[in-house]
């Protein structure tokens, strides 16, 4: 936990530094018509850097043996996160519906080891129901790809 706390505090320091740099560029003081654009972010960042230093000191003084994450815990987390990122990437090129179908099928097979008929039924049904609800009933357009274009939507 201590290492993770220190890394987070360091990340907050970096964010704070970036914000201050930008705030100084914009001006942190008083203009003819009131506070300048950088005024509010500047003070936010100053307080955040102070807080991050306090958190880092707390973490150094408080030794805990509990690790932030064990290898056994990280595996299932990555098993969700990596395919999810892949799905979002596919969404950019294939549209939501195809990407969702592929993602559902992949996850159900790879993690759940479900039977192929179940997988086929669900990964077809879910995008179809979504399509009807969003595109037809509520008129909220979702990203579409070559398949939808070929079908004429």
């Amino acid at each position: 936990m201590r290492a993770a706390d220190l890394v987070t505090a360091l990340a907050l320091l970096v964010v704070g530094g970036v914000v201050i740099a930008d705030a100084v560029r914009l001006g942190t003081g008083w203009d003819s018509d009131g506070p300048q654009s950088g005024f509010f972010p500047f003070w936010l960042a100053v307080f955040m850097i102070t807080a991050a230093v306090v958190i880092a000191l707390q973490a150094v003084n408080r030794a805990t043996a509990i690790p932030f994450v064990t290898a056994g815990q990280l595996r299932p987390v990555l098993a969700v996160l990596v395919p999810a990122a892949a799905m979002v990437l596919l969404m950019e090129y294939l549209g939501l519906y195809v990407a969702a179908a592929l993602y559902l099928a992949f996850y159900m097979r790879w993690v759940g080891r479900h039977a192929w008929p179940t997988i086929a039924a669900l990964s077809l049904a879910v995008p179809l129901v979504t399509f009807v609800i969003f595109e037809r009933w509520f008129l909220v357009p979702m990203p579409k790809g070559p398949l939808e274009a070929w079908l004429g939507f």
């Binding site: 936990m1 993770a4 987070t8 907050l12 964010v15 914000v19 930008d22 914009l26 008083w30 009131g34 506070p35 300048q36 654009s37 950088g38 005024f39 509010f40 972010p41 936010l44 960042a45 307080f47 955040m48 807080a51 306090v54 958190i55 707390q58 932030f68 994450v69 815990q73 990280l74 299932p76 987390v77 098993a79 969700v80 996160l81 395919p83 999810a84 990122a85 799905m87 979002v88 969404m91 950019e92 939501l96 969702a100 993602y103 559902l104 996850y107 159900m108 759940g112 080891r113 479900h114 669900l122 879910v126 979504t130 969003f134 509520f138 008129l139 909220v140 357009p141 979702m142 990203p143």
Partner: protein
């Protein structure tokens, strides 16, 4: 007058759909009130505003009810304020009294909610009337009070609460500064120009983050069976009036804690602790005592409803879910704040009336369909997880029809997972992200009024009083340990907790 709006067939239907959806959302791991409402917000864009807010609030009531189902039957608190419900609810369910526990929980929720709604009906117009006289310094002071109560009363590490708030404000400042027209913290990146939408942040932080946490723990649902029959419900209702003191205490604690932000969770613990202390069967608490279900549920729902009061009257949300609804108000073209009562009385009173109808409908629906909702948790995990992720992606995309938001959602998910594990609270971050522009404008306008002097916040009577309380809350984490040491008291956390026995 609001009932003529809330009781139209269409709005009742909308409320019913909302309750059903909300209960499903409350039962599902990884989805809760805030991100459930956030995901479904795009569906309301084409609706009339009153129906839209009825849908969203009904989802919220449903999610509150749904949390009780998983707590009692599966020992999984769907929301932090359902934790105290598991103490006695799950033991009851394992003793085969799940039906009694659920009936007690739903009825308590209903009573707590009703208590707060009546108080809202009475006080909201008065509060809005007072708030009409508020200027920028008063609004800034109230915002500061909102955030100071997270630091001072939130429990946990106050420095980390502070960081969450500041980070939320910083994220809110990214993009175009509407006052000066300058770009802030975009560093020439076009995608950063429109800033970070808090709805995407809610979906990522609460939705994706929660899923990552729950898969890490290795989900295994050990559900107890329900025997939910009409006879059981009626039997339980006969025994409930004898807990009237617990009901009343829970409602008062809930309302009082609830209209301050982040109040529902401490309210439920506090109500549980009080009930145990005052009960004649205090020693049976934790082993399956019906009163131990009544106490936290009443308080949690009273608090959940009370969180709507500052949202309607001041335009300042009391909880992340209320924050999402506030975002909805802005999207539908309404200006949240005290003027809403004057300009859109139909909307406000329709909303308040729908709180009554929504909760009556809600308690009937959940009582009737508990087995159905419980069955959701028996859906295999490898199907639920990707489904929830797809739903989250849809919700994030639909806010602005932009793919970058879906990537933000994933990033916020990882941040949410990390923050949750390191004990950084997420609710203040979301609230700061929502209120960022409002707070900054209130601060700027106040400073313009005073020619740059901070004294303006302390010299005006109302803002001065609020500022004093806010500063007290900020200093509480520093003062309390010092005071305890002086008095020779042991160093203990001041957070209310009913966990240790």
């Amino acid at each position: 007058m609001g009932f003529s709006i809330a009781v139209t067939p269409f709005n009742l239907f909308v409320a019913l759909v909302g309750i059903m959806l909300g209960t499903v959302i409350g039962v599902l791991p990884g989805l809760g009130g805030a991100n459930g409402v956030a995901i479904l917000l795009p569906l309301t864009f084409t609706m009339p505003p009153t129906s839209a807010i009825i849908l969203l609030t009904s989802i919220y009531w449903g999610a509150l009810f749904g949390g009780a189902i998983t707590s009692i039957l599966f020992n999984i608190p769907g929301e932090p304020w359902s934790v105290a419900t598991t103490f006695d609810g799950y033991p009851l369910a394992r003793q085969g009294q799940g039906g009694q526990a659920l009936t007690a929980a739903f009825t308590s929720s209903f009573v707590g909610a009703l208590f707060s709604i009546v108080l809202i009906t009475l006080f909201a117009p008065v509060l809005a009337e007072i708030a009409l006289r508020f200027g920028p310094p008063e609004f800034f002071a109230i915002q500061l009070l909102t955030f100071s109560s997270f630091v001072g009363l939130g429990g946990g590490n106050p420095v980390k609460s502070l960081v969450s708030i500041l980070l939320g404000f910083i994220l809110a400042a990214v993009g175009l500064d509407i006052v000066t027209g300058q770009l802030r913290m975009t560093f020439g990146v076009v995608e950063l120009m429109k800033g970070f939408d808090f709805i995407v942040a809610v979906i990522g932080l609460f939705g994706i983050g929660e899923i990552l946490l729950s898969v890490e723990e290795g989900l295994s649902f050990q559900g107890a069976r329900t025997g939910m029959r009409l006879a059981v419900v009626l039997e339980t209702w006969k025994t409930l009036p004898r807990y009237w003191r617990t009901f009343l205490r829970g409602s008062v604690i809930g309302f009082w804690m609830g209209f301050k932000p982040g109040g529902a969770t401490p309210a439920s613990f506090m109500s549980y602790a009080f009930a145990r202390r005052f009960s004649r069967h205090g020693d049976r608490f934790g082993k399956g005592e019906l009163e131990g279900v009544v106490a936290p549920e009443t308080a949690a729902h009273a608090a959940g409803v009370a969180a709507m009061l500052p949202m309607i009257t001041l335009g300042i949300p009391g909880s992340p879910t209320a924050a999402v609804m506030l975002g909805g108000l802005i999207i539908w073209g309404l200006q949240p704040g005290p003027m809403l009562f004057k300009e859109k009385p139909d909307f406000v009173w329709g909303l308040i009336a729908s709180m009554y109808t929504g909760n009556v409908l809600g308690v009937l629906v959940v009582l009737a369909f508990v087995p159905l909702f419980a069955a959701i948790l028996r859906i295999p995990f490898a199907i639920l997880t990707p489904l929830i992720l797809v739903v989250c992606a849809i919700g994030s995309y639909a806010v602005h029809n932009s793919m970058i938001d879906v990537w933000y959602m994933l990033i916020f998910g990882v941040v949410g997972y990390t923050f949750k594990k390191l004990d950084y609270p997420l609710a203040p971050l979301v609230l700061a992200l929502v209120l960022g522009d409002l707070a900054e404008n209130a601060l700027r306008q106040s400073l313009i009024m005073s020619q740059g002097s901070l004294g303006i916040f302390f010299l005006r009577p109302i803002s001065g009083a609020i500022m004093a309380v806010a500063l007290l809350f900020f200093l509480l984490p520093i003062v309390t340990p010092w005071w305890r040491r002086r008095r020779g008291l042991p160093r203990v956390a001041s957070a209310p907790s009913g966990h240790e026995a």
